[in-house]
Symmetry: C2
Subunit: 216 residues, 2 copies
């Protein structure tokens, strides 16, 4: 179960909340990009970046020189999947179907070499499953240049909206189409690097992914 | 042109920066969801939400009771499009092709009734073009319950990455497939509300959208 803190308790629309840890894993594991929130000089900064998960730890990486990773305080990591546009009979009941996870915490710089490498593997595999074992692993110089932060999955909220619009009772009689327009993330046909030998086929772990109907 | 401030100047990978205002408009106008960053009790909070744009103003809305909109200070709004997964010959050169916009500023609560209504229209049309004129407009009670913030598009950065991986020179000889796996956001077939009369056809502005190949 996910514990509820003041800021992870949903003040409004509580029926959208999910409290199982598996729901959190599902949302995080299905994502490709997270939005990392940090406070810089008192102001919020939100940047898209990759991530990975091992058990109850979320990993982020960046250049050792990147300012967004040199944070002292708390960070917030949000992963959002847009699943549909909810088309209601009235303008103000338009909405989205989505799954989102918001994780709060103070990250820990990863210094242990084994954990550092495992985290980089998780981040790479999150983006491109099967790639880690297919490509050149990081060398010493690359490892030294890459900072990794570990964020415990201790304080998080998960929200999910599904289903048709919820219109006002009197609006159901309006002569207006209503429903959901599904939104999906799909993979296209892999595009070879122009510098690649044409004879080299697309590996199964990449090609197989491109034929899936959704990035979930 | 977008002016450059300390935090919108790209410290690293400067070749990804875009400085034309049209590039900012393109990224914002192609989006469905933004990630809104606020500072609450000194900590960052990042939540997904809808938005709209009119000229050089970005609009956000929410319940008048929502804490995320009762912010005194600066906010950050980020819109990200993931266009592809960059599959390199080495693990650490894996990357993403993307377009992102990051807007900083102190929002202004919208109190003028005409601007308030125009902003709600822009937010609805961003999510579902053509819907505003097809559905019941907001009534007085709904308008009173909906807060709108206006964020000037004055300080923003746009980043775009395209193209194949950039591998280390010596890695191009490795027997590894490399290239880009495209990622696209697509609309599915509209799903009618179960409470809708089956005789009501899907309007052209919705059906037409579902046949496009991309949400851009």
């Amino acid at each position: 179960m996910l514990s509820t803190t003041e800021r992870t308790r949903l003040r409004r629309l509580g029926e959208r909340a999910r409290t199982d840890r598996e729901d959190l894993y599902d949302v995080l594991d299905a994502g490709l990009v997270c939005h990392l929130g940090v406070v810089v000089d008192g102001s919020p900064r939100v940047i898209p970046t990759g991530y990975g998960r091992i058990d109850d730890t979320l990993y982020l990486h960046g250049s050792t020189g990147a300012r967004s990773l040199r944070t002292d305080g708390e960070i917030c990591v949000t992963v959002t999947h847009l699943d549909g546009i909810v088309l209601a009979r009235s303008a103000m009941h338009h909405s989205m179907n989505y799954r989102s996870a918001v994780v709060y915490g103070t990250p820990r710089p990863v210094t242990d070499p084994d954990e550092h490498l495992a985290a980089l593997r998780a981040i790479t595999e999150q983006l491109a499953p099967g790639q880690w074992d297919a490509v050149r692993p990081p060398n010493r110089k690359e490892l030294a240049a890459t900072a990794v932060l570990a964020l415990p999955l201790a304080e998080a909220s998960v929200k999910v909206r599904t289903g048709p619009p919820k219109d006002d009772d009197e609006d159901y009689a309006l002569p207006v189409w209503a429903g959901v327009q599904p939104v999906r993330t799909v993979f296209g046909e892999p595009e070879p690097d122009p510098r690649l030998s044409p004879a080299r086929p697309v590996p199964a772990h990449i090609h197989g992914r491109s034929t899936r109907s959704s990035a979930r």
